[in-house]
Each structure stands twice: as C-alpha cells, then as structure tokens.
Amino acid sequence: MDKYDIIGKSVPRNHTKDKATGAAQYTDDIKLPGMLHGRILRSPYAHARILNIDTSRAEALAGVKCVITGNDLPDIKFGNWRLFTETQDETGLARDRVRFIGDEVAAVAAIDKDIAEEALSLIRVEYEELPASFDIDTSLGKGAPIIHDPFKNNISVVRKVANGDLDKAFSECDYIREDVFNVHAISACYLEPCSSLAKCDPDGKITLWTSTQTPYMVQCLLASALGMRENDIRVIKPHVGGGFGAKMELRKWDVCAAFMAKKTGKPVKFTLTREEELATGRRRHPMRLFSKVGCKKDGTLVAKDLKILLDGGAYNAMGPTATFLCGNFGLMLYKYKSYRFLGQHVYTNNPPSSAIRGFGSPQSYFATETQMNLIAEDLGIDPIEIRRMNAVKTGDVIPELSTIGSCAFSECLDKVIEVSGYHEKRKNPKKGRGIGIGCYSFISGGVFNWFNTQYPFSAAEIRAFADGTVHLLTMASDIGQGSDTILPQILAEELGLKMEDIRITSADTATTPQADLGSWGSRVTLMAGNAVIDAAKKLKEILFGAVTAHYNLNVIHELECKDGRIFSQVRPDKGLTFGQAVALAQKFNRGVPIVTRGSYTPRGMGMVTPAFSFGAQVAEVEVDEKTGRVEVKKMWTAHDCGTVLNPVSVEGQLEGSIHMGLGYVLSEQFAMEKGKTLNTTFLDYKMPSALDMPVSESICIETYEKEGPYGAKEAGEGLVGPTAPAIADAVYNAVGYRCMDMPITPEKVLKGKKDSLN
C-alpha cells in the first residue's frame, strides 16, 4: 500500500485547462478601460553622458498622454540586494548617464502603440559618448572607463571563501592542474516577453500586474523607488510565461507604468518586444574561471583554488548572488581539504547579466566537471571512479557553509553509468560517436537574506469551510514550474482532501499572507511547502480538538485526516467528515471563521541552503567530422531530489533543463559587436527546436530530506548544470576536441578535432 494518498502521484497541474483553452490571462492579455500603451526609448550608445533630452515634440503629438525621463522620477536607487545598499545601482530611467546599448532613457504613454512608437522617434537626446568597456579585461585594465563612480576599479562585488591551509594542502599534492575556462551569455528565452500594467486608484494607491517571479520584491522595491509605502502598492502576478530567473527584479517598465499611471490617472501597460528582450534583456553571466586543483596520485582531491571573474554588464542586477553562489558550487560536489574562492563581479558596458536557471552553477560546473575529466585522463584514472572516490555524502560538512542532510550522489553516478552503458561505449567506441559525463549539486532555496525581508521567507494561510473545502492563500509564485499544484498537493495530503477540495489564491501581495521571497533558487517547494504544512498542522490541531470533544475521546488518542474524514487512529469509527469538523470548530468559536497561518524561515541552516540535491548525467553524441556539427543522440540522468512529490512535474522540469543545457553548450549565444547585440530574433538567437532534442531517460534516486516537505528538495533547476559538461565530454570522446571556451560550435570542433580518435 502506498504510504501517501496523493504525494508521489502525477496529479495533473492546476490551471492547465485554462492554458489549454487559451483562457489563462497573462499580463499582456489584460486590457483595462482607458488603458494607455507605453514604450521605452533606449540608448543607442554603450556608454554616454546625457546632456539634454527634448521631449517637446513627442509631447505635442496627438494621442500622447505622458512622456517622462529619469529626472521626472524620484532620485532613488533600487536593486534586490537591499541589505547592501551600495549594490543598488539602478533608477527608473537613466538620469545622467547611459551604460549599455538599450539602457532605458525615456518613456512614452499614448492611446495606442503606434502613436507611442512614433512619439519615441520624436524625442531628441543629446549624448556625449564616453569610452566603454565590453569585456572584463578592459574593465580591469589600466585607464579603464569607470562605469559606476563609487567603484573605481569596476569591481562591484567581491566574495571570498577560504577553508583550511591552502598552501599546505597544495604542498601535499602529487599532482596539480591549472585551467582557465570561459563561458558565455545566454538568454532566458521565456516565451512571454516582459509585460507590466499599472493602475492608480483615485486615492493614489497602485495596483501592478506584472510578469514576475517575485511579486513581494517588486512591491517593496517599487514602493521605495516611488517614495511610497509598501502597503500602497499591490502587486498581482497573473499567469507568467516562464521566467527562469530573469524576471526576479523590479524592472524599469514596472516603475514607469506605475509612475505614469499615477501621473495620468489612466492604466498604463508596457509590453516588450522580442527584439528588446534579446537585445537588452537579462542574460546569464559570462565568466572566466581560473581553477587550480591538486590531488594525490590515486586521485584523492586535496586542494582547490578557484577564481571567477563575472562579466556583470552595466548593472548589478542579480550579479551579487551569482558571485556568491558560483563560489559555493565550486565545492559542493567533491571533498577538498582546503578550498579557496575569490569571486569578482565586474562592470562592463554590456547588457546586464543576472539570474538564469542554475544561478552561477552552469558556469561553475562546466569548469569543475571538465577539469575532473582532464585530471582523470592525466592520472589514467576512470573518470567515474575519481568522482566516486571524492564524492560528498550525507552528513558531510561543507566548512562554514552547511551540513548535507541527504545525498545520493554516488548512487546517482552508479545508476547513470549502468543504464547508459557508459563503460561499454567508452571501451568500444563507434566512429564519430562519443559519450561523456557531467554531475551537479544544487540548492533548495537560499538561506541568505540579502533582500532583508522582515517577514518569514514563505507563508501560507488556510481558510477551512464547513462544506469540506479549504482555501489556500500563499504569495508563492507559479511561473510555470507548478507551485500552484504542488502546494495544494501537499495540503491535500496533510488534510486528507482531494485536489478539487482546495482552492488556491497565490501571488497577490494585497490578499496573500506576508510574504514569500518568490520563485528562484528552487526554494518554493521546500520553503512554501513547509509553510503550508505548518499552517495545516495548526488547522489540524483545531479540528482534532473538535473531533476529540465531539466523541469525548481520551486526550491521548492520535487523530488522522484521510479520505475527507477526521478520526481517531485507534477507533476509526469515531470520526467526522472534514466539513463537519470545521462546522463544529466554528460553532465552538461562535462563528469566527477557521483560519490558520503557517510560515517557514530557514534557521541554523548555515550560509547556503537547507538542502542539497544531486545528480549525474551522461550524454551520447554523434559528430559529423566533415561539418563539425554535433548531434546529441541521448541523455541519461539519475538524480536525487529527495521524495518525488509529483513525478510528471519533476520529469517536466528535468526535460526542460536538458533543453536549456543543450542550447547553452551547442547553439545559443549572442553575437556582440562593441556592446551591440546583433542577433535579436529567434531566427538568429538559436534555442533548440523539437528536432534538436535527444532521447532522454531519467531515474530518480529517492532519498528523504528531513528539512523538506515529505522529504522533498530541489528538482530540475540544478540539472541545467551537468548537461553542458556532459555533452562537451562526449564531443571530446568522439573527436578529441576538448571545449574550454563555451559554446561548442562546428567551427571549433573542426579546428580542434583529432583525426586519430575513434
């Protein structure tokens, strides 16, 4: 018999009927009476001083209702790292300087989009062009242009980790290897371009519908950017067409929409074009990684010295977190006696980098995993064996950071090697074919509170009804990953109800309980899930009391919720339906509704995360040796995400990760020319199509994570990490080209291949 009624079942997602029929509303689908359409004027220069802006002709155009520039907005900087105000480096529109091609300079609201567009062409901006930097070398070099005045060396964030005596550790090594890796930027490519719609009530209070992963952060930051109070801003997250990390900040069009709605008294909507998204949108950090690793002859790792320079682009965005995390990922898979990390976040005049699925891990693991293969090859050790012997285990302490509560990394390795036939294929290679490995560990939400929230990290409210239903309210944001399904699923299990007994309202800052930090870092299932369980426990206490009183049960009886009933475990006949119990409890309270609240904040959990996930992935590729084209034939994945709450959802996340990982290593990149993005369409920014996807086979190795709801932890985000190194290793295995600079292109394969292999 199954341990659970609904946990572990692939219940279909909530809202999928709406989405399948086209009824689901995304921000741009909302149309309010009298609504104005906003457009943004962007900088054509990578770095320039704004000398003058003349908006008079735009304002005179019939149909234009509002034109604003940076000086119309309060002079208040914002950014997600509220705890460290010096990192907050953005304003609603550029004030005196532009720092990348596409930097927002002015905004127009008009009665239709065409008029707004025409008005943009009538704004005259006088710029004085300044020297610009398009790479970290220039930014760090002598005489570099200073991009933000307080940071004379262009380094905006420094992160250091130092465990053990590094020099001593290296002196104990039989073998030391130093490598430099370069990884590039990609777009999140969420299908829904950013959109934001603001309405201002006559009393000055603002409602903002926006395509965001973090309504609470947007609420707080928008309030501060406009000099308003938090409670004067209501942020509602409608359906969101994907975010992948790149929709977790207050964005300038949010500020403009709200400000202009207030100014005009009419709703104002901004929706970006794909061209704007690709040319100016958030990107994954390009990084240069210097990695020095030392080990014993037998492959036992001893010391690691990792330095990472991040090309942050023109603003910090989520760069500080990426700087912090990429250093953590540098030591999450394997044990080292001593580890040192130095991360430097460098300003350039490129479009800003930010969080994109994996948050520093795809870059970090590309280096770690490629280097593991290089070491194994140098020492003549099997690449799997060297991983197994150094792999972290349950209970291992990551110095100063965390203790690993559950870990099936080694089991994942064993399983993926077995199902993929890795060793057999390595031994008997076919011409042009290759097989390779990559591994990862990931976080289940962060415990760092750089946003400086004054509320719990996640919260839930349950309202119980006498008709046997409940209403779950939470600020957790479903952006396509499925939290609007998983959270009711957890609640249904707790209360012994069915999915259809639960109504969910989520991600509306005015009606759902404070607060939730949003959907990023794979935090929602664990944190909001725990908040739901906390609220459910409190509700059960009330209902159990009612049933106990009704039957005059001995107070030592344990009660249970199952199949819509609440009953004594030892006397199952002594029980009421869920609705009867609610009715009774409510009567006891003379009609006061039964409402409970729960929350979760990770405490005493170290510096990184409450729980770590793990996994290993094998890729098999076929390389056309004449054209250099790489075709990925199959991916095998074994991963440990704790208890699998909803298998189809977990698989869906994993499969999406393969898509993004494959694009990252083989086809997606920006063609840049002096800070200008040349490929601004999906024709030339190449994310994989259905024809490019390999066969995928995956296995979940279940563990029980005691910090997670029903033992669950992160699933699907971290998996974007191993794909690139696995494919790169397979390409090496096929034709002898070892990729150290992402991405792999046919041209690089042709140049780097060795004819003798396979």
Binding site: R13, L191, G242, E275, G480, A690
Partner: protein, 159 residues
C-alpha cells in the same frame, strides 16, 4: 487605409474596421479579445501566435488581417466544443503534462491540429517536424510530443 472587414473566427462573423497594416494577431487579441493566441516574437520564429486559416497553420503575427476576409480562422478558443468538452488535443496536453508556463500551448495545439488533420497517424519524427516552428523553453518538447501521439490515438478512436 482603413478597411471594414468581416472575419470568420471559430465559426462566428466579426466585423471590424482595421487599418491595412494591422496583423491578424493584433486584431484577434486587441479588437476581438481573443487573447488565447499569444505573441512571442512577431517574426514568425516562435509559433506562439499560430492559428489555422482555411485549415492550415500560419503565423498570425505575419498575416495581415485584411487578407483574411472570407477565410475560416480557427484559434485556440475554437478548439473545445464547450466549456466542458475539450478537444482531444487539449485533453492530451493536460493529461500528459505537456503544459508548464502555458505560453507556447495555444500555438503548439494549433500546430498539432494542423498535423493531425493532414496526417492522423504521425510518426515521432513527423511530430517533431510539425512542431519545429513552435518554441518551448519549459518542457524540452518531450511531453508535448507524447501528448500529440496520444491525441492522435484518441482522435482515430473517435472516428
């Protein structure tokens, strides 16, 4: 130049006055309120705006509304028979977990319909080709392919 045109969308006639340069996507979304059809790129590369015109899938973002007069337009809102009875393609998308963020869904379903009308028993490579003009960032396409397979089976049984 403004034209007074009548569009037949999901079997209903709508008369709208529209400029000749307006796309079908704009008229569907903004004038008719049929926002199930999305706009993902505006260049015919992503497929989120796919609708059927006289039975063929097209990018509504690259179709002039005026050119559609007298043609049968089917959008995602016209797929289901009623609020209660969904089209087998929709059922399969829900059932198989083919929907995550949902932004590509309408276009995917319309591409699936274009395929299954012409080829009731598609092979996997045929399904992949049929949706290769529909980009999805969430699913890796696996469950979408599975859903189209499954819908094909259901549709054959129903016939």
């Amino acid at each position: 130049m403004k034209h007074l045109i009548t569009l037949k969308v999901n079997g209903d006639d709508y008369t709208v006055a529209c400029d000749s340069s307006r796309t079908l996507n704009e008229v569907l979304r903004e004038d008719l309120g049929l926002t199930g059809t999305k706009l993902g790129c505006g260049d015919g590369d992503c497929g989120a705006c796919t609708v059927l015109i006289d039975g063929d899938s097209v990018s509504s973002c690259l179709t002039l509304a005026v050119s559609c007069e007298g043609k049968e337009i089917t959008t995602v809102e016209g797929l289901a028979k009623s609020g209660e009875e969904l089209h087998p393609i929709q059922e399969a998308f829900i059932e198989k977990g083919a929907i995550q963020c949902g932004f590509c869904t309408a276009g995917m379903e319309m591409s699936a319909l274009n395929l299954l009308k012409k080829n009731p028993s598609p092979t996997e490579p045929e399904i992949r080709t049929a949706i290769s003009g529909n980009l999805c960032r969430c699913t890796g396409y696996y469950k979408i392919i599975e859903a189209i397979h499954s819908a094909a089976e259901t549709m054959k049984e129903k016939q």
